[in-house]
Symmetry: C2
Subunit: 373 residues, 2 copies
C-alpha cells in the first residue's frame, strides 16, 4: 500500500480510531487499527478499529499510489502524527511488514501486523431503523447517559434503552436503580417493531456523542436484536447491543405528584454546591425544606460542621421536606437547559420528578433519601 | 472574633493558605489554618498556615467587630467559600469553638480548634538579605527549579542553591546529578556573607513562584543558615532551609567546549517531540547527528519502530554525534525564551552547555548519553 493524506484530517481520524481501541491490553491484537484502500471508491481509504464490542469505520480522502491494507499500532501512530508539522503524510508498506511514514523532514518506520489477524468490521443491512438529526441524537444521549450505571453490577443497566412510543416517536430511557432519565423524541423516519427495545452500551453512546459532528446533518441508526450501526457522512459505528431485558420503568414514573415547586436552575445548582461542599460522602446527602415561596437546603448536621442556604421558589402549598443525594440532583440539573426547572413531589418518601418548565419531552425521576437530621 | 471580609479576596487568600497546608494528614493539626486580628493594625487580619517546613502569612483588609483568633480546617473552608455567591463574608466564633460563616443566603457552622495548639509562625529579623524585583525572582525560579531533584534520594539536591558572586550578584544553581541549571542575576540590594550559600527547598520556591504577583514590585529575601523569609506586599513566606552542603558544580561546567551549534528553539522542540514520541522509556533517549548546516535527530532503533527528523543548524565544523535524554533537552528548551538557542559541545562524551543566544546570564549543562545505535 502507498498513500498520501492531509496531516490534519489524518490526525483527527486517528483520534477517533484511537478512542475505540481497547486500552486494557489483554488482547494485544486489539491495540492496532487497519487502513485499507477500498474497491470502487477512488481516492478514498478506510480506517477501522474495534474492541470486539464497538467498531469504528471512517473514510478519508487520499491519493492512492498503490492499493492495499496495513494493520499497525494505533496509539503509537496517533502519538507521533499529532506532533508532525508538514502538510502531507505519506504512508507506504513493505513486504517485510514495515510501515514507512514521512511528513516534512520527519521519517518514521514502524512494524506492522498481518491485516488478516485483525477482526474485520463488516457493515450490514439491518432490519430496524431510525433516522434522526445529529442535534437530536446528541440531545437524547446527553439527557439519558448520565443516569446509566457505570459499574458492572447490573449489565442490563449499563446503557440506554431505545424503543418506540405508540405515537411513532423514539423513547430513550436509562436508570441505575436510584434514578431514571427519559426523553421522547420525534425522528425523521422510524421502523421499529412494536414492543421491541434494545439496550445500547455506554461506550458506544459516548463515542458516538464525541464524534457526532462528523455524521453530517442526520444519522441513520439501524439494528437487529444483536447489533446496532450509526452511519452518516464518512463514519460508521457498529456496536454489539447489551443482552438482557431492560426493567419496566413505567410503574416507577409517578403519575399523581401534585406538589409542584419551580426554582431557577442556576440558583438551585449554586445552593446545592454550597450545601453539599461540606460533606465528605461521595453522594452528598442534602435536605430540601420547601415552604411558601422558599426552598431551604440543609446539609447533614455532622461533627465536621453544617451548611444551610435558601433560594426563592414558586410554591404555595403546605410546607414539606425531602432528602436527596445532591449528586443526583446536580447531574440532572447539568443537562437541563431551561432557566427554570420543576420538581414534582408527592411526599418525602415518594419518587420525585425533575423536568424543565419549558419542555415536556424530558423527565428524570429521583428516589428520595431518608434524612434523619 | 467577629470579622467581615470581601468574598473574592478571602477566596484567593484561602487558595494560597490551602496550598501550603500539609496534605499528607499524618499530623491532623496541620490540616488547619489560623485567622487572627493583629494589634496595632486596624482593619487588618492575618491568615497563616504551615506544614512545619513552609509557612505563609497573608494580611487581608477586614471590618473587625470583635478582635480574636480562630483555627479551622483549611480545605473545608476553602471548598465552601469558593462556591459562595455574596459580596461579603461574615465570620464569627463562639466560646464553644464553633465558627459561624454567613454570606448572602448561605450560613455555615464549623468546629474549630484551640489556636494555641497550632504552630505559630513568627517572622524574624534575619542577618542576610537580598532585595530583588518580583519579575527577576520569578525568572530565577523558572530557570533553575526544573533541574532540581524531585524524589527524596538526595536531600541536598531537592532545592535551589543561592549564593552571591564575586561581582555582588546572586547566583541560583540547581542539579539532579545528570544536568544543572545556573542563572546569575543582579539585584537591588545584597547582603550575603562571602562564601555563604543556602539551599531553598522545592516546595517553598513553587509556592513563592505561584503567589509571586502578590508581593508587589519587589521581594525582600532574608535568611540565616537555618530559615529564609520572602516578604513583600501583604504576604510573607517563611521556610526552613535544606541542611547539608550543595555540591561544588564549578568543575562540571565546561570551559573549553568549542563546537557551537545554533538552532531555532521551536524547531528543535518540535523535532525532539516527534523523535521522542515513539519511545516507551520515560527519559526518551535521542541521538543528535550534527554536520554542516544540519542537525539530524534519531530515535533508538527498537522493535517498536524508529523515527528520524532534521532541522537547519548554524554549524560549520566537523560532523559529530551525541546522545541525550530528550526530556532533559525539552525541560531546558521550555524555559529559555529566545528564538535561537546554542549548544556548546566538546565531543560525544562530554557535558554540553545549552543557553540562549541572546542572554549570557543563564546556562544549563546536560550530561550526554551513550548511544549505541
Amino acid at each position: 500500500m502507498e498513500i498520501t493524506l492531509k496531516r490534519e484530517a489524518l490526525s483527527s481520524t486517528l483520534q477517533n480510531i484511537n478512542a475505540v481501541v481497547d486500552k486494557s491490553s489483554t488482547k494485544p491484537i486489539l491495540s492496532n487499527f487497519v487502513i485499507r484502500t477500498t474497491e470502487g471508491e477512488e481516492s478514498m481509504v478506510e480506517f477501522s478499529s474495534t474492541d470486539y464490542e464497538l467498531s469504528l469505520v471512517e473514510k478519508l480522502t487520499a491519493q492512492i499510489a498503490e492499493p492495499g491494507s496495513i494493520c499497525v499500532n494505533a496509539k503509537k501512530v496517533f502519538d507521533i502524527v499529532k506532533e508532525l508539522q508538514g502538510e502531507d503524510v505519506h504512508i507506504r508498506s513493505t513486504e517485510q511488514l514495515w510501515i514507512h511514514i514521512t511528513c516534512g523532514s520527519s521519517e518514521l518506520r514502524l512494524p506492522s501486523v498481518e491485516v488478516g489477524l485483525y477482526p474485520q468490521t463488516i457493515l450490514e443491512e439491518l432490519p430496524q431503523s431510525v433516522t434522526i438529526s445529529v442535534d437530536d441524537l446528541k440531545h437524547c444521549i446527553d439527557m439519558t447517559l448520565f443516569a446509566a450505571i457505570t459499574n458492572e453490577s447490573r449489565r442490563n443497566l449499563m446503557g440506554v434503552c431505545l424503543c418506540s412510543t405508540a405515537g411513532e416517536q423514539t423513547r430513550w430511557l436509562s436508570t441505575d436503580g436510584h434514578r431514571l432519565a427519559e426523553i421522547v423524541k420525534a425522528v425523521d423516519k422510524i421502523n421499529i417493531g412494536q414492543g421491541q427495545e434494545v439496550i445500547i452500551p455506554r461506550k458506544a453512546l459516548t463515542e458516538v456523542r464525541r464524534a457526532a459532528d462528523l455524521f453530517g446533518e442526520t444519522v441513520r441508526i439501524t439494528f437487529d436484536s444483536r447489533v446496532m450501526q450509526f452511519s452518516g457522512g464518512k463514519i460508521s459505528f457498529k456496536t454489539r447491543l447489551i443482552e438482557g431485558k431492560f426493567p419496566n420503568c413505567d410503574p416507577i414514573i409517578p403519575k399523581d405528584n401534585t406538589l409542584n415547586v419551580i426554582v431557577k436552575r442556576e440558583n438551585f445548582i449554586n445552593s446545592l454546591r454550597i450545601v453539599s461542599s461540606i460533606s465528605t460522602e461521595k453522594l452528598r446527602p442534602v435536605k430540601l425544606l420547601i415552604s411558601q415561596g422558599v426552598l431551604k437546603l440543609e446539609s447533614e448536621k455532622a461533627d465536621y460542621g453544617e451548611v444551610v442556604d435558601e433560594i426563592e421558589a414558586g410554591y404555595d402549598g403546605e410546607a414539606f421536606q425531602i432528602g436527596f443525594n445532591s449528586k443526583y440532583l446536580l447531574d440532572v440539573l447539568a443537562v437541563i437547559e431551561s432557566d427554570e426547572i420543576k420538581l414534582e413531589c408527592k411526599n418525602s418518601m415518594s419518587p420525585t420528578i425533575i423536568k424543565s418548565t419549558a419542555d415536556d419531552s424530558f423527565l428524570s425521576v429521583i428516589m428520595p433519601l431518608r434524612v434523619e437530621w
